[in-house]
């Protein structure tokens, strides 16, 4: 179990530009809030190294093909500057949601706690779905998370948090 260096609830206004929700994210947030089933989406993540593409590139290609996309964001191999860049790109692409692992795999870089990623993603205008053991849902809600990822990798679904 990694020990995440929690950094409290510091404001993030100086880190990312605030973004308002774009159409796909707004539609997903609305569906979750009203208890409706969200539109079908593909769940993407980083490809395996050394030849797998980044989740952002995969998302760009899927969005170009007209698909609704949910992206699993990695935090164990990059620092917060890289994570912020990824989130900005995913917001730019109008991905419907980012999926934050509540219990991410251990890695070389332990820069951001999952709940901080949720907060940053929300700030960037993204809808956050949490995967894995949520623990204290209210804490995630305060960070802006909207839903839980359920279903299977091939048929992902989301329910309200």
């Amino acid at each position: 179990m990694p020990t995440w260096p929690l950094r409290g609830d510091a404001p993030v206004e100086d880190r990312l530009r605030p973004g308002s929700r774009r159409p796909r994210a707004a539609a997903l947030a609305g569906a979750l809030a009203e208890g409706r089933p969200p539109a079908p989406a593909v769940l993407l993540g980083d490809g395996p190294p050394p030849t797998g593409p980044t989740v952002v590139l995969r998302a760009a290609e899927a969005r170009e093909a007209g698909e609704d996309v949910w992206c699993r964001i990695a935090v164990h191999d990059r620092n917060r500057v890289a994570v912020e860049g990824d989130l900005a790109a995913l917001a730019d692409l109008d991905v419907a949601a980012v999926v934050v692992d509540a219990d991410p795999p251990p890695g070389r870089v332990l820069d951001l706690a999952p709940i901080e990623v949720a907060r940053l993603a929300t700030y960037a205008g993204l809808v956050v779905l949490v995967a894995g053991p949520v623990g204290e849902p209210e804490r995630w809600r305060r960070a802006g998370a909207c839903g839980l990822l359920v279903g299977t990798p091939d048929r992902p679904r989301a329910v309200a948090l």
Partner: protein, 347 residues
């Protein structure tokens, strides 16, 4: 006497094995820690200790096109001043530069804490018709994440990748971020080559230990570096001397591309002043800032310097770059385009 790879490196804040980096101060001080660079007392250069795995030729069309350009004339590269995380700014700056330059370097920005990730930014730029040379640093991602970026850059079809270790997070505006430095420029280069990408790397001829810098270039070439992009290092004669020393150290000419700073306003001059180990030709910035129309004179002096550098011995091209005040990105891109076109770029 020289060192062999993997000398003790624990004390380098950037965890470098193949140091010293270009951030060594004129007094030999570390760019981060309040003490001398740990490499200065060691036997230098640190020899590349790679496994000898064959390196790849570039597999992107843009990479092959760049090599074709270099076979017939010097390469003219431009910086890319687009505002960070702005698709609209990418589009507008690309429109200003399209057709005027051989390729466009998308590197770290002196003013941007966060950028779109390299492959995504390259994709946006390539979609606008630019041949992209993408900067990748080792500060923000570990080897797995870097490998994915390299694979993605190849998929996007970039011309090449500029491999840098990167500034320490403690020396810029990212103090809250963990400095990763799982790799460094020298160990990133062979990975980029094996991903099928044309490579470049940076060297700072004016940074201590000055006499060991040419041999460090030779080691980066052995690791997989193809083009050496120079930090501003003074007069044209200084560039020629460094190119000659580098060829002697490597046993063959190394394609050297010195920088041509484009300064059109005071904000750009201040940005330039922040560069570690940058030495400009005598009176270069003063001539611009004291002019009635700094933009016109800035372009003029950049063209003059670029023209002289392109005629210098051992120079394989130039990299024209710089910055301007916030909100002036497109105007600066137009100024860059004027300079690179005058120097023969895009032809």
């Amino acid at each position: 006497m020289s060192g062999v790879g993997a000398v003790g490196t624990a004390a380098c804040p950037k965890r470098m094995t193949y140091g010293p980096c270009g951030g060594v101060g004129a007094d030999g001080g570390c760019e981060v820690a309040p003490e001398p660079c740990v490499f200065l007392p060691r036997p230098l250069p640190v020899r590349w200790s790679g496994d000898g795995t064959p390196l790849e030729e570039p597999r992107t069309r843009a990479g092959r096109e760049v090599l074709e350009v270099m076979a017939r004339r010097p390469l003219v590269v431009s910086g890319f001043p687009a505002a960070p995380m702005s698709r609209d700014s990418v589009r507008a700056c690309a429109e200003a530069l399209r057709g005027s330059t051989d390729c466009v370097l998308a590197g770290d920005s002196g003013r941007a804490r966060v950028q779109f990730p390299p492959a995504y930014r390259a994709r946006l730029m390539a979609a606008e018709g630019l041949r992209v040379w993408s900067g990748v640093n080792c500060r923000d991602r570990d080897r797995d994440a870097l490998d994915r970026e390299l694979a993605s850059l190849r998929e996007v079809g970039v011309a090449g990748v500029h491999c840098v270790t990167g500034d320490h997070t403690g020396s810029g505006d990212r103090p809250d971020a963990t400095p990763v430095f799982d790799l460094e420029a020298t160990t990133l280069l062979p990975r980029a080559r094996r991903a099928g990408l044309l490579t470049s790397f940076a060297e700072s001829p004016a940074a201590p230990p000055v006499r060991h810098r040419p041999a460090r270039v030779a080691e980066k070439v052995r690791a997989g570096g193809r083009l050496c992009w120079l930090q501003y290092c003074g007069e044209v004669e200084d560039v020629e001397a460094f190119a000659a020393a580098t060829a002697a150290a490597a046993g063959a000419p190394v394609p050297v591309l010195p920088g041509v700073p484009l300064v059109v306003d005071r904000a750009g001059a201040l940005l330039l002043a922040d560069f570690a180990a940058a030495v400009l030709p005598e009176g270069y910035v003063e001539r611009v800032l004291e002019a009635r129309d700094p933009e016109v004179v800035g372009v003029q002096v950049a063209v003059e310097l670029g023209t002289r550098l392109l005629g210098a011995s051992g120079v394989a091209g130039v990299v024209v770059a710089g910055g301007a005040g916030p909100g002036r990105e497109v105007a600066f891109a137009r100024a860059l385009a004027t300079v690179t076109r005058e120097l023969g770029g895009g032809s």
